[in-house]
Every structure is written in structure tokens, then in C-alpha cells.
Symmetry: C2
């Protein structure tokens, strides 16, 4: 069995959302699984000097919002720029990590539901009620989820993932590793597809 | 006749080089011409706070050099990271502008020869002798070129182009306008192709 594709992301990253809508099928076409690894861009940016795209100087910020929308249409993915952006995603990341411990498939359903809620329905993942509702939608117990998100093991797991992402040179999202090869950005899906199909180039 | 595609670039931009190797054929497939417009990232960056990719913090800088090389292999374009990077490109841009006034097709040949010299043969376009040799290679008179690069009209033209690029929100290269729609980056060629084939999306 080949190693899974590592998909590092932040729930507040629009290009991570776009890539998340394609990566499962892309991986499956090449007999791979996807290992979803949340990290926190807010923490990463403190080490790299990164800035959220919408907080860049005006011509860049407005270009990127236009590009989010156009890239979503190009990909055939529903998108609406959230009214609150970016948002803290510690809670959503912990929710995913707790769900991954309970039920891998349920966790994947939660991930996609959460990304779509934020980036196509303007539901802020920074609100605990939104996370609870999403849990219910994917068949999880929202009360158990709320408790699980507070477990020290879950908090430690997220901290370890953020540290690992920084140690491995992740500076933006999505960052996708295929057999150790690092690809940054939704734009690199075509290169990833070739790498999976024909090996290193 | 549909309007030309505007291709804004800096001779020191690796992703501009990669895109320059594809844009003529892409445009021709859709009955368009390419209008090559040099600008100066060094000047643009002073207004946008931009930084050359290789001068970013170490994990970003090393990723980008790896990505230049991998993206070139993906595109089937010869590439060797120049030993001097980035370089001042005022001279190369003025040379192109002067050639565009003499002979449009010769200017396009010069542009491609210059990009390939810098990004696959490590010949620095900051050296006047390199520009003269390239002029000879494409059938231009290097003495006339050296004189032409000093003409006030040529200098003013480049200044006007840099000002125009900033006024239109260009913050990186390549930036490609199709009927007023702005696309930034070599990665956007697939979106440009769809736009040309089926119209706005």
C-alpha cells in the first residue's frame, strides 16, 4: 500500500478549501488515501512573516478576493467570500482531530462540511454552535464533540501538528506532501497528479 | 480582430519566463496576438512591499527555487537557476522597447532569446555585452541597439509602462490581461485558456 498523501491546511484558507474539493478523487485515481493534517496559519505566519491575503496592500487584497471567486468557478466549486475573514480555527481543528480519533470517515465528512459551511454559506467556524451543528449533520454527538475538543490530548495533538508543519517548512496552505515531495497551493494539483501518475519528474 | 493579450513581465521573473514559453501558442490557438509589456518589479515592490522570492525567509526561498525548477520540468522548458538573481532589468527592458519600434517580430525573438539566455544559460541580462550579443543573434545591429537604449523616448516609454502597471494594480509577474480581466502568475494559464475559449466565467 503506497503512503497516504499528506494534506496540510487551515480551515480559514480559501485555496485549501478549493483543493479539498478535489484531493480525495485525485488521490483515489492513483490508489492513494489522503491524510488530513490541520495546522494554524496564524502561528506559522509569526515565524515566516506571512500575512493573510486579504490584509495585503489594496491592489493585492482585491485581486485575491476576485481570484478566490474566479478560481472557484473555474473548479466548479460553490464559493462565497465569508463576511468574517480570516477567522480563528483552533476550535475547528481540534474538532477534526477529536473526530479523527473516533471515526476516520466521519471526520472526512466533517472536514468537507466545515469547509463548505464557511466558504459557501458564510457560517463562521469560530462559533462553537456552528461546529456543534456541523457535527450533528455528519452524525457525530455535538456534546461529546464539545467535550472532546477540550481534552489535553487533542490540544497537544494540534500543537504537535503546528510544530511539525513549521519544522517541515510549511509556510502557507494547502501544502501537500507526496512521498516527501512538498507542493504548495491549489495551483499545484496538476503537478501532483503527474507525480502520482508517472513518478518524480 | 480581437484585442491582443497583454503580457506584463520583468526579465528577472522566472515564472514570467515559463509563461513566455507558452503564451504565443496559447494566444494563437484563440486567434489572439500577444502584446509584450515590460515593467520593473523593483519599482513595483517599493509600492506594494513585495520582495523577490529568493529573499524571503529560508523555508520559502528554498521552496521557490525548487518550484522554479520543478515547474520548468513540468512545462518541458529548460531552466537553470541563475547564479546572479534577481538582476537589474532596466537595460533589457529598454532594449526590447527599442526593438519593438524597429521590428515587432525581431523584438519577440529577442524577448525569447533573452529569457532563455538568463534562465537556462546563466547569461546575465544586466551586462550590456550580453544584450549586444543577443541582438546580433536575432539579427539586430548591436551598435544601433546600444544607442537606441539611451534614447529619451525609450526611457520615457519604460517609465510610462511601469507607471501604468502600478496604476492598473500589477503587483507581480507575469500579469496577463485578457479583455481587461487580470490574471497573475504562470499558474493562471489554464484559466486564461478557458476564458479565451468560452468567454468570461
Amino acid at each position: 500500500m503506497p503512503t497516504p498523501i499528506e494534506f496540510w491546511f487551515d480551515f480559514s484558507s480559501p485555496y485549501s478549501y478549493l483543493a479539498s474539493e478535489k484531493i480525495d478523487e485525485l488521490a483515489a485515481r492513483h490508489g492513494r488515501k489522503v491524510d488530513y493534517k490541520p495546522t494554524l496559519l496564524g502561528v506559522i505566519f509569526r515565524t515566516t512573516g506571512g500575512v493573510p491575503l486579504t490584509e495585503l496592500v489594496p491592489p493585492k487584497a482585491s485581486y485575491f478576493i476576485h481570484d478566490f471567486e474566479r478560481s472557484a468557478r473555474f473548479a466548479g466549486v460553490p464559493f462565497r467570500q465569508p463576511s468574517r475573514f480570516p477567522i480563528p480555527t483552533v476550535g475547528a481543528a481540534r474538532a477534526l482531530l477529536w473526530l479523527q480519533q473516533q471515526d476516520e470517515e466521519m471526520a472526512v465528512r466533517f472536514l468537507h462540511a466545515a469547509f463548505r459551511a464557511y466558504f459557501s454559506q458564510d457560517r463562521s467556524l469560530a462559533e462553537p454552535e456552528v461546529l456543534g451543528t456541523l457535527a450533528t449533520e455528519v452524525g457525530a454527538d455535538p456534546v461529546a464533540l464539545a467535550r472532546g475538543m477540550q481534552e489535553p490530548a487533542v490540544k497537544d495533538k494540534l500543537k504537535a501538528l503546528v510544530d511539525e508543519s513549521i519544522a517541515r517548512g510549511v509556510f502557507g496552505a494547502p501544502t501537500i506532501f507526496v512521498d516527501g515531495e512538498m507542493f504548495w497551493g491549489n495551483d499545484r494539483l496538476p503537478q501532483i497528479e503527474r507525480w502520482l501518475a508517472t513518478g518524480p519528474f
